[in-house]
């Protein structure tokens, strides 16, 4: 290594190895002195932290392995390129770590899909493009659709990975360009952490550009749609099996749920209508009472006027036109009203 003789006594490599051994021992749950007894942390946060840190340490290790001498005029560009744009580029790694943990990531999902579909796909591959006939044709076609969907998903995932790899290379170029601006004394990077933080900034800025590009949008959309097709086809297969065993299927439960929600909406609408009718009836009653009270307070004109034969006294009751709704006003008191 270029820096092997930089440490006093020439034992730099031994120190580095000890440090990494301790770290790796800790990661594997080894009981090295001064390290926690287990890397299998109980809490989700600790596990997540470990995953993120694993990527960080892997990156530091890569940096370490190829580091030119301190303050040397070594080939730093080549070093940066090897670490950040090489085959084990850390940018794609950041995605892969999360993909496995979050459960929603495309890599973990692909692995699950392949595992789940494997028994269904065995024997279908060689017949994938054959036309289907007879009693089993529908079953065979379903199998073919699933196989095609899985194959398509693999292709879409490969496209997605290729795009991420390109983003990683562009990030490395951006880092190199930003480093080149820091060549004068006082602006140089003098710590691994400083270099790491600079790379993170470069990676995020680059990803912003890539992720907002039309190409990413298309590749991402195709990946999500391919996942949906695999999911739908594998469920269709599973439901056939479930039906054969007399088990309720997701489709049946979904249908029940949909009908239940429709009934709930109908009932609620009827309840609201009933409340509205009840409120209107109450208003009518109040109006009637008001009119009756007003009529009782006045002298009866019929007593002093002749009534036509066969006619009825008084006019047909008519409701007053509905009053305009009160304008919204902060703090305005409203009368208590049921189900308002």
């Amino acid at each position: 290594m270029a820096h092997a003789d930089a440490a006093p006594g020439g034992d730099f490599e031994r120190l580095a190895r000890q440090s990494w051994d301790a770290w790796q021992g800790w990661m594997k749950g080894g009981a090295t002195a001064g390290t926690p007894p287990s890397a299998t942390a109980s809490s989700e946060a600790a596990e997540r932290a470990l995953a993120g840190l694993k990527g960080y340490f892997t990156l530091l290790e890569s940096l370490w392995a190829g580091a030119p001498g301190a303050a040397s005029g070594g080939d730093w560009r080549s070093w940066m390129n090897d670490v950040f744009a090489g085959p084990a580029q850390p940018f794609a790694q950041a995605f892969a770590d999360t993909s496995g943990l979050a459960g929603g990531g495309p890599d973990a999902w692909m692995a699950d899909a392949q595992r789940a579909a494997a028994p269904l796909l065995d024997g279908l591959r060689k017949d994938m493009n054959l036309p289907t006939f007879g009693l089993a044709r529908e079953h065979q076609e379903r199998g073919q659709r699933l196989l095609l969907a899985v194959t398509d998903l693999q292709q879409q995932l490969a496209q997605y990975h290729a795009l991420l790899a390109r983003a990683g290379r562009l990030a490395a170029e951006r880092l190199e360009s930003r480093l080149a601006e820091r060549s004068e004394p006082g602006r140089q990077v003098d710590s691994l952490r400083g270099l790491y933080d600079l790379w993170v900034d470069a990676a995020e800025d680059t990803f912003q550009e890539v992720a907002l590009s039309p190409e990413y949008r298309t590749v991402y959309g195709a990946l999500v749609n391919a996942q949906s097709r695999v999911r739908a086809e594998s469920r269709a297969q599973t439901e056939v099996i479930a039906r054969e065993f007399g088990l309720p299927t997701r489709s049946e439960v979904a249908t029940l749920g949909q009908r239940l929600h429709e009934v709930r909406r109908t009932l609620r609408a009827q309840g609201e209508l009933a409340d509205e009718v009840a409120a209107l009836r109450a208003e009518v009653e109040a109006l009637k009472r008001g009119r009756a009270a007003a009529a009782a307070a006045k002298p009866d004109p019929a007593a002093s006027r002749p009534t036509p034969a066969g006619g009825k006294s008084g006019a047909a009751m008519s409701l007053p036109a509905p009053a305009a709704k009160p304008k919204a006003a902060a703090g305005k008191r409203r009368p208590a009203r049921k189900n308002s």
Binding site: A7, P8, F12, S19, G34, P36, A41, S43, E44, A45, G52, L53, Y56, G69, A70, A71, G73, F91, A94, F95, A102, G103, G104, E181, R182, S183, E184, V189, D190, S191, L192, A203, E204, Q208, L212, R217, Y220, G221, A222, V224, N225, S228, R229, R235, R250, G257, H261, R265, K325, K327, A328, A329, A330, G331, K332, R334, P335, A336, N339, S340
Partner: protein, 356 residues
């Protein structure tokens, strides 16, 4: 010409050793911290429906505000970001200012809720919560504070029922979903949402979280945890970190139908600003938002960029529109110390000036 790198191998080794030592020393204490909780302010459940709970918060003194304030959070994540812990609580600071605060907890949908639509959420759950608060206070109209997607819901409700809202506050609320820097929107454009929802039913929280993490993949998946090692020797800071982690990942699944409609109409169709969103067969016309509006957005918001929030001014019908720009991000607007100092006071002053 010098090399831009001046990394002394010995110092680098020391750096790594220090990092490893801090990690080794800090992790046992991490394990001993136990569970973290959020929802710090005393509260009372005043209404329940399905999985929804409407809470009324209890401050240390009687509210001075004449009109209560209802907070409507997004369906993604839980509403406890507004009351994460005693010293990071929008709710607590609003109570201190004299506001009378209610909050909707939408709950965790399961497959029984898969068919809930936007109408169920907006006209149904939100509308009935608003009616409950109006009835409790004997008021025609109350104040509504909508956050993120909850802000979009609040705008829809305000357009459909302007008479029931005295004042509307929107926080980090997307309005124009097609601005060029809106990454989430960009990613949804070529998604077949029907196939997505039909094959999933409800949208799993893990899937949503994966999507959010990949908005800033290295920062959120790795650098954040490297930074955690720096604070491992500070139990209070670690507890705060873990509390935030819990909030981020303890999130609800999304009801399938509501998700389908929201992505199609808002993210893909950008129908809110075009007046083409329909809720329960009624068109949402933002010109009918006639009550005073305070629109608060965060300058470094990577989920709802300011460009997505600010166009509200051009679309609402009110003549009393105020905008507040906050120096921070989508989460910092609730929990940062700057937010504690600036946001609740601004909200209270704005409401007080409008009789609230």
């Amino acid at each position: 010409m010098y090399s831009p790198l001046r990394i002394d191998p010995l110092k680098a080794l020391e750096e790594i050793e220090t990092f490893r030592r801090k990690l080794a020393a800090g992790l046992p204490s991490l394990r001993s911290l136990g569970e973290v909780h959020f929802g710090a302010t005393p509260k009372e459940a005043v209404y329940r429906e399905d999985k929804l709970v409407l809470y009324h918060f209890q401050g240390e003194r009687k509210p001075s505000a004449k009109v209560p304030l209802l907070i409507s959070y997004a369906l993604v994540n839980t509403p406890w970001m507004t009351d994460l812990q005693a010293d990071r609580s929008l709710v607590a600071r609003l109570l201190e200012q004299g506001e009378d605060v209610y909050l909707i907890d939408w709950g965790y949908p399961d497959l029984a809720d898969r068919w809930l639509t936007l109408e169920d959420y907006i006209e149904g759950y939100l509308g009935r919560c608003i009616d409950v608060v109006r009835r409790r206070h004997g008021l025609e109209a109350i104040n509504l504070l909508g956050i993120c997607q909850g802000g979009a819901f609040s705008l829809c409700y305000a357009a459909l029922h302007p008479e029931k809202l005295a004042n509307l506050i929107t926080m980090v609320t997307p309005v124009d979903f097609h601005t060029p820097d809106n990454m989430l929107s960009h990613w949804t454009r070529e998604m077949d949402v029907d196939a997505f929802v039909d094959s999933l039913g409800n949208i799993p929280a893990d899937l949503m979280n994966f999507c959010y993490l990949t908005l800033k993949p290295v920062r959120l998946n790795q650098q954040k945890y490297v930074g955690l090692v720096d604070i491992l020797d500070d139990p209070k800071e670690v507890e705060n970190f873990l509390r935030m982690e819990k909030w981020i990942f303890d999130s609800p699944d999304q009801a399938g139908e509501a998700f389908r409609q929201f992505i199609k109409d808002f993210y893909q169709g950008n129908k809110l600003i075009m007046g083409e969103v329909e809720i329960g067969g009624r068109r949402v016309d933002l010109k009918r938002v006639s009550m005073p509006v305070l629109n608060i957005y965060a300058e470094q918001d990577h989920l709802v960029p300011p460009s997505a929030a600010r166009p509200l001014r051009d679309h609402v019908g009110t003549t009393d529109y105020t905008e507040l720009s906050f120096k921070g991000g989508h989460i910092g607007i609730y929990v940062s110390s700057r937010a504690q100092r600036e946001v609740p006071g601004a909200v209270h002053a704005w409401l007080a000036a409008r009789g609230g």
